[in-house]
């Protein structure tokens, strides 16, 4: 399934970048290059070959870990993109961790106090959360937290290995911004799943058996309510990756999202291809792992 996904994504990306009105030879040699020089480079890069041959050539390189050379820097694209992906994954993992720590208790609270004040407050927060795009929350966060309150540095990136406290301080705002929409979405999912589970017969049976409320909730209900959440979180990773693009751009973090924006703006075709493929691969792998995890936790489902 992952192989098929990446094959289709590679076709889509290659098709889009093929149609882009950009001549790689002109981009590398500049507008003033002689016709002979351009022709020689096109020949060397295989730009005169039929499209399907160019695709196979590119795909062959990718399968060997060679994504080609950046038209902008002339350096190999693969290592640069992988390094950037690593930085982005750090943000992604921290965001998901923050989301789980906050979203599950909020969802449980709302489900247990259904229709009461706490439920309405959680629901208000989550509506506000899903209705604010990342670029708005990020810009407001920079204005309020960094510029006015001076609590955290506004933008920039410091590697954690270089200066851990400072590096962490630079990550707080981006991680919070990215996780807002996730928290809003997942807490609503947890709430509605838990509300459904609390109405099932086995929960009523557990109650009638005389088990305490907390025992029913944590021992029986929550486990079943959280199962579908795994799938939702995995699907949200697509949204998360989109949010990371915006957040990296605003906070000037050198992750894969920022690399992609630069690549798209400068029409650096090999970098665009590598970036999109790596993002799609990340999403597919996360969803594959989530499926396996789901099947492992829920014995009723068996995958071939």
């Amino acid at each position: 399934m992952i192989v098929y996904t990446l094959f289709i994504v590679s076709l889509v990306v290659f098709a889009i970048t093929q149609v882009l009105p950009a001549d790689a030879a002109v981009m590398m040699l500049g507008e003033n290059a002689t016709d002979q020089a351009l022709e020689a480079l096109r020949q060397q890069m295989g730009l005169n070959d039929p499209v399907w041959l160019q695709y196979l050539h590119w795909l062959g390189g990718v399968l060997h870990g060679d994504f080609g050379q950046s038209l902008r820097t002339g350096q190999p694209v693969g290592p640069a993109m992988l390094q950037a992906l690593g930085r982005s994954l750090l943000i992604a993992v921290l965001s998901i961790a923050l989301m789980l720590v906050l979203a599950i208790p909020l969802g449980v609270l709302a489900a247990c106090r259904r229709g009461k004040l706490a439920d309405m407050i959680v629901s208000l927060i989550s509506y506000a959360g899903v209705s604010l795009p990342e670029f708005v929350t990020a810009t407001l966060a920079v204005l309020f937290v960094a510029d006015w309150a001076k609590l955290l540095p506004p933008t920039g990136y410091v590697p954690l290995t270089e200066n851990f406290p400072d590096g962490l301080a630079h990550l707080v705002l981006p991680v919070c911004v990215v996780s807002i929409i996730l928290i809003a979405h997942v807490s609503r999912m947890v709430r509605s799943e838990l509300v459904d589970v609390l109405h099932t017969d086995y929960i009523r049976a557990a109650r009638l058996k005389g088990l305490s409320t907390s025992r029913v909730l944590f021992g029986h209900a929550l486990r079943n309510a959280l199962l579908p959440t795994i799938t939702v979180v995995a699907l949200d990773v697509g949204y998360l990756l989109g949010g990371i693009i915006v957040v990296e751009e605003i906070f000037a973090l050198p992750g894969i999202g920022r690399q992609l924006i630069i690549a798209i703006q400068t029409r650096d075709l090999p970098a665009i291809q590598a970036g999109v493929l790596l993002m799609a691969a990340t999403y597919s792998i996360v969803n594959f792992v989530a499926d396996i995890l789901y099947a492992w936790l829920d014995k009723r489902i068996q995958y071939d």
Binding site: Y4, I8, T139, G238, I264, S284
Partner: protein, 276 residues
């Protein structure tokens, strides 16, 4: 229809959402009439002003009236988002229904391919398409529509599969009706309700996606009054006057919340189990 409206108003989400969305459409239709000032009129003396009787929401970095710019900008932001969502919905609904009707291997291939395309984040997909077509509002509309189509196809298919098992579809097949007749006349009308809910909620995503594209410089171009673009331009001046930044942000949030609430309200109203 009246019955549906009654049910919709009975849910708190539906009532608030409906009011917000109606307000938004009033602004979209009558925005230019309501705007107190010329949105392009610059005034060097009246830059970075806070709210006052003259400028209800203050002025921006060129001394332009923020309220007027927001009222007129509603057209570009909201109208574009609605049309992009509708286009994406129709394309997706068509693919999903056809796939469900065909079934078997064709269905599997179509759905696997759609799953694969959905591995590219929506925003990134839209960025790629805008880059391909060139930065402009119309191209951003096409990009958002194309980015939405796979998701809509997936949802439509799952609903259509349930419909396909219904007796009236089997009856139509037994009568010997053509495939196009069955898809268009028997199946599509019955998958409409869940799609309306999904479409309404997606308008709020589209508003946000549009604003994000403009923010990244790939949607509407200056001096347009698109809200995302206004936020983007305000970033440089936000230290001087926070209002330039906050009002358009609030406008985006209100529209997104309105469509979100209306979608959730519709879902409850259309669901025979939870609706009154």
């Amino acid at each position: 229809m009246i019955e549906l409206l009654k049910r919709l108003l009975r849910t708190p989400q539906g009532a608030v959402g409906l009011v917000l969305v109606i307000l938004v459409f009033i602004v979209v239709i009558f925005g230019p009439l309501l705007a107190p000032r010329d949105p392009e009129a610059m005034s060097i003396l009246a830059r970075y002003k806070g709210p006052s009787a003259n400028f209800l929401l203050g002025t921006d970095q060129y001394g332009r009236d923020i309220l007027s710019r927001l009222l007129i900008g509603a057209r570009s932001t909201v109208t574009m988002a609605v049309f992009a969502t509708l286009a994406g919905t129709f394309a997706g609904a068509f693919i999903g229904t056809v796939s469900a009707f065909l079934g078997g291997r064709a269905d599997e291939i179509i759905m696997r391919t759609i799953d694969a395309i959905m591995a590219i984040p929506n925003l990134l997909f839209a960025l790629l398409i805008v880059n391909l077509l060139g930065s402009s509002s119309i191209n951003a509309l096409v990009a958002v529509a194309v980015a939405f189509a796979p998701g809509m196809a997936r949802i439509t298919r799952s609903v259509a599969l349930a419909v396909r098992k219904q007796d009236y579809v089997s009856a139509a097949i037994a009568r010997g009706e053509s495939s196009s007749y069955i898809i268009l006349r028997e199946m599509l009308p019955n998958v409409v309700a869940p799609i309306v809910v999904e479409t309404t909620i997606r308008v709020s995503f589209a508003v946000m996606l549009f604003a994000t594209l403009s923010f990244l410089g790939l949607g509407a171009q200056p001096p347009a009054t698109e809200w995302g673009l206004m936020v983007s331009e305000a970033r440089q001046y936000m230290h001087i006057s926070a209002g330039i930044l906050i009002w358009p942000s609030l406008a985006i949030a209100i529209v997104a919340i309105g469509f979100n609430l209306l979608g959730d309200g519709l879902r409850d109203a259309l669901n025979p189990r939870t609706g009154g």
